[in-house]
């Protein structure tokens, strides 16, 4: 079981590497993506009609808030008869809710975007959990070549780059990379970091270790950072001034806060890490047609332009306009996050170093 899982992870990782090469090789002239229009097959039109009748899609999401709001807004503009309800909950609560909905047949999530890799991987391979993705946008050659579509029922999307953010009033300098986070002046709480209570965060710490000196973690532990449970909370804390610098911020949310007038800025590390969000439609969806239409829009150029502006996309016509276009990107390592032994051992080691 474990070996097959690891093999599958390796295949996914290899496919992603190929896809990312494709990501950064977009054309020179950016296209302006438009909402899906033009002739559609009678079968798909029937799905759209049924979706319009359903009129609502409930999206359980851990995606960056600004990214999901952008996708919601673009979708509702393209499909004014369908409203999107976002339910932002933690991964552990989401898994529990999805399990109960599955076991009881209670309609809950229509679409999910999460980073619960091991949980979703197991269910993606089962027959009675996720519905096949049927939208025509996934037939686009870029999606087919990307390897982002798993088992025909789950889609991976690196929609939010993890960046280093700071409060410009408290830290009026520039940061050039993770090494700067070891600045002794940031000792004692001015620096915010993420706690690896989920596999995805352990993988981020492992990425940091891999790209820095062997004793990076010990030196970071000496900084005595403030720990946060998610990037979303850390972004707000940078804006509020609770911390001066945050090592696990999301570009899309900091950009939104900056637009709102918050004294924040960010830099994209080289390489930058991002967690591919897993999008899927549970079979227990109460609005299955609206879910498919939403997924299709998400995969369309218009949807990708909205949701992946501060991340990366496999669509070549959209890729040049994304933040990830000019940065080497490292995705979550599937061999890590699909292996519970790796996760628990890494977390235990991390906790020893950080005494938490």
């Amino acid at each position: 079981m474990k070996s097959s899982r690891t093999r599958r992870g390796a295949v996914i990782a290899a496919a992603l590497t190929l896809a990312l090469v494709g990501c950064s090789s977009g054309g020179d002239e950016p296209n302006i993506p438009a909402a899906p229009q033009g002739p559609v097959s009678p079968e798909w039109q029937a799905v759209i009609d049924a979706a319009n009748d359903e009129g609502r899609v409930t999206w359980y999401s851990v995606s960056p808030p600004a990214a999901r709001e952008a996708l919601k807004e673009a979708f509702e503009a393209a499909y004014p008869e369908i409203s999107v309800e976002i339910r932002a909950i933690s991964g552990a609560e989401m898994d529990a809710a999805l399990e109960t909905e599955h076991d009881t047949g209670t309609p809950g999530a229509d679409v999910v975007s999460a980073v619960n890799y091991a949980w979703a991987d197991e269910r993606s391979n089962a027959d009675d959990w996720f519905a096949p993705i049927t939208g025509p946008s996934f037939e686009h050659q870029d999606w087919v070549d990307s390897g982002y579509i798993v088992n025909g029922n789950m889609v991976m999307a690196p929609i939010g780059l993890v960046v280093i953010g700071w409060n410009t009033q408290l830290f009026p300098e520039q940061i050039t990379g993770y090494e700067d986070l070891l600045d002794p002046r940031l000792k004692g709480g001015a620096l915010g970091m993420i706690e690896p209570y989920a596999a995805v965060f352990s993988d981020w710490w492992s990425f940091i270790e891999e790209h820095h000196d062997a004793d990076f973690l010990e030196r970071m532990a000496d900084q005595d950072p403030t720990f946060y449970p998610s990037a979303a909370v850390m972004n707000e804390s940078i804006a509020s001034g609770e911390i001066a610098v945050g090592g696990f911020a999301t570009a899309v949310d900091l950009a939104q806060l900056k637009e709102d007038g918050a004294p924040v800025d960010f830099m994209v590390p080289d390489p930058a890490w991002t967690a591919q969000n897993l999008f899927y439609v549970p079979q227990s969806a109460g609005n299955p047609n609206a879910a498919q239409v939403f997924m299709d829009f998400f995969a369309s150029p218009a949807g990708q332009a909205a949701v992946a502006e501060f991340g990366a996309t496999p669509l070549k016509e959209v890729a040049p306009d994304t933040l990830g276009a000019n940065t080497p990107i490292v995705l979550t390592t599937m061999e890590h996050v699909l292996d519970p032994n790796w996760t628990s051992e890494y977390e235990a080691n991390w906790r020893t170093i950080f005494s938490r």
Binding site: R56, T58, Y60, P65, S83, E85, I86, R87, A88, I89, S90, G91, A92, E93, M94, D95, A96, A97, E99, T100, E101, D103, T104, T106, P107, G108, A109, W119, L170, F171, D183, R185, L186, K187, G188, G189, A190, F227, Y228, P229, S230, A232, V233, M234, N235, E236, S237, A239, S240, G241, E242, I243, A244, V245, L257, D260, G261, A262, R356
Partner: protein, 572 residues
């Protein structure tokens, strides 16, 4: 039903007579056993399965020792805060000058205003770096907090700590002690206090030497009750403790009962100490207070004239109100009007944008509707149920065992923490044959359980005041049972019934602990939605939802006071 006096006919002599005499009591006992006891029994059963394996798992949970210690500290600390402040405020509330009598309501408000909103307000005030109070305190010349080279200074106070959680929990329990102590104070013979004053004792000495000893029974009872509630608190630890991994039993029950991978057995095992403590409390109360209507707070006033007003009374109560209510709500308003949370006041950026966003968000509107509908639904069940229970308990007809069982069941939701009911009800109703997960009905049933003691307590108090002379006269005049109740008893109890209904609404409109378990992601109430937003860091929206929630509660409170009179809150 018929107008003729009850007379046993030969046909009635068997089953029908038994049904007439015992039917209501036994029926209610069956319904309540299922509603209240069944989830708890299932929990215990679950914990004891496989030779108590779940208990072994519970003892192996990393940090369980620290969790137990923190829970004990929370119980003891919040007890001290609530008993000291509650007693002091009750004493001063009785010594308010006539024109400031309205201030006597202030110490009760923390109980009726949304707890989650108050907790969030405290976080905005006492967050170490950017809490408004901390920012203000650091401006004081005698507060010396080391300034780091980069970033804001931290402190001097920190809400994300065990003392911070204890403070917030203790303040929320002040009304409970206040009401108990006030009830006892009103029955005191103040002549003994006057005698102490005549003998030369200062007011403070008279309070310590005369009043406190006389209050001992009320203090012991309310302290035990406050400790029990403190031990089972979820709100403050869940909101404020997660950042520093501060855990108590209630948060662990939530972690294992409502988060993946769900382990109901483990949650049940961790619930057991709280469940047993609650049941022990109710049994001890039954043994110690043997008067017949032990869940009625005696409202009779002392026979002697009131105590002379104190000049300190109004300032002390007003200061409590400002510190514990006005400041948290002001902080909420500031954050709700801001595009993002910051410790600075920038009035230029204030706008109603967050409120516009909230009222355009179908999730928030759904939660608002669900909060109102489920609260009204629970009231619609709990009020007649409470009425029938009141009738049975007041008349004390029927089997003594059944009566004792009813008295016990009615008390259970007061002693057993809401988190335990939450996880028990979720477990029972998430599977067949009672599949109610994701429905508003599950919230309604949960809420009926939670308000059961309140509705019975308030209706019984009104029923006792009314006495049985009117309904006896009605029956003697030939009216049947139903006509007597609909035409005589209910109209005469109208004030109590309306007051009880609206107070139930006020309590339920911001229920949090049990709702966290029995909600689903799509069927949310305002409190649970607020928690989701808090844990995702949407602070301005958290503040906005808190304000909306408080407005809903305030409207309910306003109607309560209008319908039930000024002393409606005192009857809680």
């Amino acid at each position: 039903m018929s107008g003729s006096p009850a007379k046993a006919t030969p046909a009635e002599s068997g089953v029908a007579r038994w049904v007439r005499r015992h039917g209501l009591g036994v029926g209610l006992a069956l319904i309540l056993s299922f509603l209240v006891l069944f989830p708890l029994v299932r929990l215990l059963q679950l914990a004891l399965e496989n030779g108590g394996e779940a208990f072994a798992q519970a003892l192996a949970v990393p940090g369980i020792g620290t969790t137990l210690l923190t829970t004990a500290l929370l119980g003891a600390g919040s007890l001290i805060i609530s008993v000291v402040l509650g007693t002091l405020l009750a004493w001063f509330a009785l010594r308010l000058p006539p024109r400031h009598r309205w201030l006597a309501t202030v110490p009760i408000l923390p109980m009726v205003l949304p707890g989650v909103a108050v907790v969030v307000g405290w976080a905005f005030l006492l967050s170490p770096q950017v809490g408004y109070i901390n920012v203000a305190l650091r401006e004081l010349p005698f507060i010396n907090v080391p300034a780091p080279e980069i970033g804001l200074p931290s402190g001097p106070l920190n809400i994300y700590s065990v003392p911070g959680i204890i403070l917030v929990t203790g303040l929320q329990m002040v009304p409970l002690v206040f009401l108990f102590v006030q009830g006892s104070l009103r029955q005191l013979n103040f002549e003994s206090i006057e005698a102490a004053a005549v003998a030369g004792a200062s007011p403070a000495r008279a309070f310590v030497s005369v009043v406190l000893p006389l209050l001992r029974p009320a203090l012991v009872y309310s302290a035990a009750f406050a400790m029990l509630i403190g031990l089972g608190q979820l709100t403050a630890p869940q909101f404020l403790g997660s950042r520093e991994n501060i855990r108590v039993l209630a948060t662990e029950i939530y972690r294992f009962g409502a988060e993946s991978p769900t382990n109901f057995g483990l949650a049940a095992a961790i619930s057991s100490p709280l469940l047993l403590a609650g049941v022990a409390f109710i049994i001890a109360q039954r043994l110690l207070l043997r008067d017949e209507f032990r869940f009625v707070t005696a409202g009779a006033r002392g026979a002697s004239r009131p105590l002379p007003p104190s000049r300190l009374a109004a300032p002390v109560i007003a200061a409590f109100g400002v510190l514990t209510l006005a400041l948290p709500f002001l902080a909420l308003i500031f954050v709700a009007l801001s595009p993002y949370w910051t410790g600075q006041f920038n009035f230029e950026v204030f706008s109603l944008r967050n409120f516009e966003k909230a009222f355009a968000d179908p999730g928030i509107l759904d939660a608002l509707v669900t909060s109102i509908v489920t609260s009204l639904g629970a009231m619609a069940i709990a009020l007649p149920l409470g009425y029938l229970l009141t009738e049975v308990l007041y008349r004390r007809r029927g089997n003594r065992v059944v009566l004792a069982l009813l008295e016990f069941i009615v008390q259970v939701p007061l002693g057993v923490p809401a988190v335990v009911f939450g996880v028990g009800l979720l477990f029972v109703y998430v599977g067949n044959p009672f599949m109610l997960y994701g429905t508003r009905l599950l919230l309604v049933l949960t809420y009926v359980v939670i308000v059961l003691p309140f509705t019975v307590r308030m209706q019984l108090a009104t029923r006792m005041t009314l006495g049985s002379a009117f309904d006896d006269a009605s029956r003697a005049s030939g009216a049947g049972i139903l006509r007597t109740h609909f035409s005589v008893v209910m109209p005469m109890m109208r004030g109590g019934l309306v007051g009880a209904s609206v107070l139930m609404f006020v309590i339920l409109s911001h229920e949090f602990a049990a709702s966290m378990f029995v909600r689903s992601t799509r069927t949310q109430v305002l409190g649970t939605l607020l928690y989701d937003q808090w844990s995702r860091g949407s602070y301005p929206m958290v503040a906005t939802v808190s304000i909306i929630m408080s407005i809903v509660t305030a409207v309910g409170l306003f109607i309560a006071v209008r319908a039930g009179g000024r002393d409606t809150l005192q009857r809680l």
